[in-house]
Symmetry: C2
Subunit: 219 residues, 2 copies
């Protein structure tokens, strides 16, 4: 193994530990000492590989975004597939990611609120706004052709992510009140999935009340 490879290896080990801790406790509540201890090196060692805590966080954040967003975009653009199928696959993708990292929804929302500009910045650096535009254009095209009902895009967003993310955001709370164990939680998630798909499908294909004060589909 070359020196560069050893270096990259340590960098990867650090990123892995940092990712795990950042997701679990968030940026503010995770200390460099925590991460160093987790990797098994000294705290200044972290600064050697990533100059500051911020830079390390950016790397982790980018990694997380890249692990899911492009996948979802790709699924949503497959116009030849029925929308219900696409939605189910999106839900599956998120489920599998969130079941590996149950605190990820909490993490994203927390960091999104701690520093929006950073999220926007990262997304821009990864050219996600461009890709997002393709997705929304594609969906609006389907709406225009009457294949999908016209729904303001933020409403699609709220519907999908609200239903998808709420079980994870409240997992601790709900399991401490309703459920016994993690197995029950996963069973519950599986039973919940068809509700998400159906509600999204309903929203996108059936008639709903219109409010004239907000009839322009913005964006």
């Amino acid at each position: 193994m070359s020196a560069a490879e050893i270096h990259d290896n340590m960098e990867a080990r650090i990123l892995k530990a940092a990712k795990s801790l950042f997701i679990e406790k968030g940026f503010e509540e995770t200390s460099m000492s925590d991460i160093a201890a987790n990797v098994g090196i000294n705290r200044p060692g972290l600064h050697y590989y990533f100059r500051t805590k911020d830079k390390m966080f950016h790397a982790v954040f980018e990694d997380i975004i890249l692990s899911i967003v492009p996948k979802v975009f790709t699924i949503l653009m497959q116009q030849e597939r029925p929308i219900a199928q696409r939605i189910e696959e999106v839900v599956n993708a998120y489920y599998s990611l969130f079941l590996q990292n149950p605190n990820l929804p909490m993490f994203i929302i927390r960091e999104m609120n701690r520093d929006v500009s950073q999220l926007v910045e990262t997304a821009t650096r990864l050219h996600l706004p461009d890709r997002l535009k393709e997705v929304t254009d594609s969906l609006q095209e389907e709406m225009a052709h009457g294949k999908l009902r016209r729904v303001p895009l933020p409403f699609l967003f709220y519907n999908l992510y609200g239903l998808l993310v709420m079980p994870f955001l409240t997992q601790n709370f709900v399991t401490s009140i309703y459920l016994d164990n993690e197995k029950t939680f996963v069973e519950m998630l599986n039973a919940w999935k068809p509700y998400i798909v159906l509600q999204m499908t309903t929203l996108l294909t059936c008639d709903m009340p219109r409010d004239d004060s907000f009839s322009t589909p913005f964006l």
Copy 2:
């Protein structure tokens, strides 16, 4: 004004400032100095009225819970009113609270994850589990009588709060991408409301797919 009244008054001033700051930035990111500066007194003064930051937070938290939960419970128990009406009123209650404190949803979820036991403890001290049981019993009675479709209670919870809370959780993000200003956000909320009500009503009155692996309505 008596000495006791002056004391209570200062206590209230502190609580008000603390509440505002805690909601905005969360427990960890709010310092006693912040609060003291906001009230216009000295940091040790806070410790004089509330011995520790924790005790102060408990007081704030209790205040917040009491400002909304009983209201919602009461609305939901009014069996004589159609469910759609009750749901709309619940949404209205939350809307009016959240529009006054747009960061409240973030706050509750963050603190709920930071320390579940505290939330449970506070709720218990306020006898909310008993009242919650009355509400769920009431709803299950309506389900048993066929007035409402049998839906696992957590699903009602996810549906309502997911749809209700997501716009607020992502307000910064969404407005920084889609919307121009706060006015647009409020308009959007009003247009969004009927969707919440309709989706909840659909869930509670129309047929939905059943998954046998999870057909027992738990709790």
